[in-house]
Amino acid sequence: MMKTPVNNDASANKESSPKVLQRYISRREAIEAARRFHSVDGKRVVVRFTMGQRIEHYILLISFTLLGITGLAQTFADNPVGYFILNLFGGIDSTRVIHHTAAFIFGALSIYHVAKFLYQFFMGHRLPKMMPDWSDLTQLVEMLKLNTGLSQKHPRFDRFNFEEKAEYWALVWGTVVMGLTGLMQWFPVATTYYLSGGSIPIARSFHKWEAILAILAILTWHMYHSVIKKLNTSIFTGVMTMEEMEEEHPQELAYLQAASAVADNRSWPVMIEVPLEDEKEPEPVVPPVEEVKTPEPVSSPAEETNNSESAAPAVEQKKDDTENPKTAGEIE
């Protein structure tokens, strides 16, 4: 998430108009920003998700769907549809085995995701982009104003907007609740070594309701925002066209253009100016377009850039990593 001007960045011209965000970026950030631009079939696109992130989503999609179907079928075993599904999976016991298998995959995925986050946070010095902040709240208000006709100003979304953050954190909450209560039911005897027996029916209740909530949330919130509103295939293809970026993540696009424009600079860090308002469109900066036909994931650019930057002054290095650690390979 791009920070608002009120930041610890060098924002001397905060009061001036038009509003711009001035900040120092490191060479690593500039290179990573430049690498986000690709060309597919002659069209310029921006890489939004790495191959790893896309695979994560595939696994999540499959395991979540399986869990939802097999779980609801068990909960509503009396219902003709539930009964049919249970028989389809070969009975309630084998449905349970499938449910547990999918749960194991889901759990493994969650552990991988957290481990990847921790690695990128501590070893790659990347700040999480999914963290909610005040701008999300103000953008929600702006969005509501726009949709109710009180205002014509469309909020400029950054890497992840509040809709996507809500989705993500709902999933995190759901995973924690479902994982814990699911394990409690999976191993009830072991659970009662540490908790009272009364915790099992409570876990059961949590598991049922949270599942219903999660499935309804996916069916409404997620389906609307990524399928119904406008089919967003970036999680499957990995890329977004420039037009899509301009429409849905203009703030991120502005940063990427500003950062990639200075990628050839020789002295680091470099101050860039990222416009914060629609009125002042960013100058048509043409970033170096790499001649790649298919979008390649930005794979661990941290190591490369760290190596290439090893000769940089220690002070600058510190500044890069602690104050402005935004990079293309963000974590969410």
Partner: protein
């Protein structure tokens, strides 16, 4: 923009699956078993008595002819293995029987014996009494007259005569074919019970439902002893309670089955529910009828009920796995398997490693309310409030967003 075919397929299939799950949620339904249970309360008496009783007529079956010989208390039948039975016929026995009421005499059952001399008898039969005619030896001993019966032993005779019952009682004969008793008989045990063992021979009678435990106790002594001390058995023994189940209610009568047979285990939950989900009946004894609902709503019950409906193996706990079978006692009784102090031991039958707090995982057939399970109640309540609020909020946001998008698009189209 372009994206691969696989991605399209994934998107479409994912959307389809989620919509399908939505349909699953939306389609509500009542429990089919309960619905069925309420619709058809069934009770089949052990024996159908349709014909009206006709006055007893001993002579119609040739009684008086037979009594010419068989009123002699010294007549004894001798089997090839040396065993003997009395051939003396005591008229009072038959007088009490249901056959006597219908006017059935000796030949109704002993039709094969025809007239005298009986086809079964040998030449020796005559000389038993009339030894003076042939000058042969008198087979009588101590005044007893021995008649040879060309069968191995009395049981063989019983089994042979038992076939006679099936001529008239065809329905029951059909039912018996699927019984455990018939199976044991077919496996070569001649002492497996047949018609006359339960109903009697000359004193043939229907076995009353309330009398069946004593009848079964003739062989199943251990089961009867346990039953007699159970809450069901004690009520029957004490005051002949008409509501408690007897042997036949659970095991069947002519088609009697043990727990190892067929679907006995799976169907046992319905068996218990037949009475224990009956509000009127349970109100008499102040017993909760939630026992069946709450069982079906829990892990064990839901699994068992599904497996029962789809004829799959039932390996989760049924009613009797916790409450006991013949020795079933009310949960307040200290000897009950579900008495709080005994519960852990009962759980450990399946959950061998279960710890002291484990039994609390079971809510004792209670519907969670504010006093019994406050946390559980609060969780349910919270979700029932939060889910509509949250999803409602999502939907309002979505509706606003969609409305704005559509109206903006129309405006743009209009300008062009």
């Amino acid at each position: 923009m372009k994206f691969s075919r696989i991605s399209k397929i994934f998107l479409i299939s994912a959307l389809g699956l989620f919509l399908f799950m939505g349909f699953l949620l939306a389609a509500g339904g009542s429990h089919p078993v309960l619905a069925q249970e309420n619709a058809t309360p069934t009770s089949t008496p052990a024996i159908e008595l349709t014909a009206t009783a006709t006055p007893a007529s001993m002579s119609s079956g040739g009684h008086s002819d037979c009594l010419g010989c068989h009123s002699n208390p010294n007549m004894v039948g001798k089997f090839t293995n040396g065993e003997t039975i009395s051939l003396y016929y005591n008229e009072t026995q038959h007088a009490d029987s249901i056959h006597a009421d219908r006017g059935l005499g000796c030949r109704a059952c002993h039709a094969d014996q025809g007239n005298y001399p009986h086809p079964m008898s040998s030449e020796k039969t005559c000389t038993t009494c009339h030894s003076n005619i042939t000058g042969g030896t008198d087979s009588s001993k101590n005044g007893q007259l021995f008649f040879d019966i060309p069968l191995e032993n009395p049981r063989a005779l019983s089994l042979e005569l038992n076939e006679t019952c099936k001529r008239c009682h065809q329905d029951q004969a059909q039912e018996v074919k699927s019984s455990d008793h018939e199976r044991i008989l077919a496996n070569g045990n001649p002492y497996a019970p047949v018609c006359i063992d339960c109903h009697g021979s000359h004193d043939v009678k229907p076995v009353g439902e309330r009398d069946s435990p004593k009848m079964c106790a003739n062989c199943h002594k251990a089961a009867y002893t346990a039953y007699k001390s159970s809450v069901h058995g004690a009520a029957l023994e004490d005051n002949g309670n008409p509501d408690v189940p007897t042997c036949g209610n659970c095991h069947g009568t002519h088609s009697v089955k043990g727990p190892a047979e067929g679907n006995f285990r799976a169907d046992s939950i319905e068996l218990c529910a037949k009475c224990h989900a009956d509000k009127e009946l349970m109100a008499k004894y102040g017993i909760s009828t939630n026992v069946f609902n709450t069982y079906l709503d829990d892990f064990h019950g839901r699994s068992v009920n599904f497996s029962r409906e789809s004829n799959m193996k039932v390996d989760k706990a049924t009613c009797y796995d916790c409450h006991g079978v013949h020795n079933i006692l009310p949960p307040q009784d200290k000897a009950s398997t579900v008495y709080p102090a005994n519960l852990l031991h009962t759980c450990q039958h399946c959950h061998a490693d279960a710890d002291i707090t484990f039994p609390q995982a079971w809510l004792s057939h209670k519907v969670p309310d504010w006093t019994d399970a406050p946390v559980l109640y609060a969780v349910n309540l919270a979700y029932i409030i939060v889910i509509p609020l949250l999803i409602g909020g999502f939907l309002i946001y979505i509706a606003l967003d969609a409305y704005h998008r559509i109206s903006t698009r129309r405006k743009k189209a209009g300008h062009k």
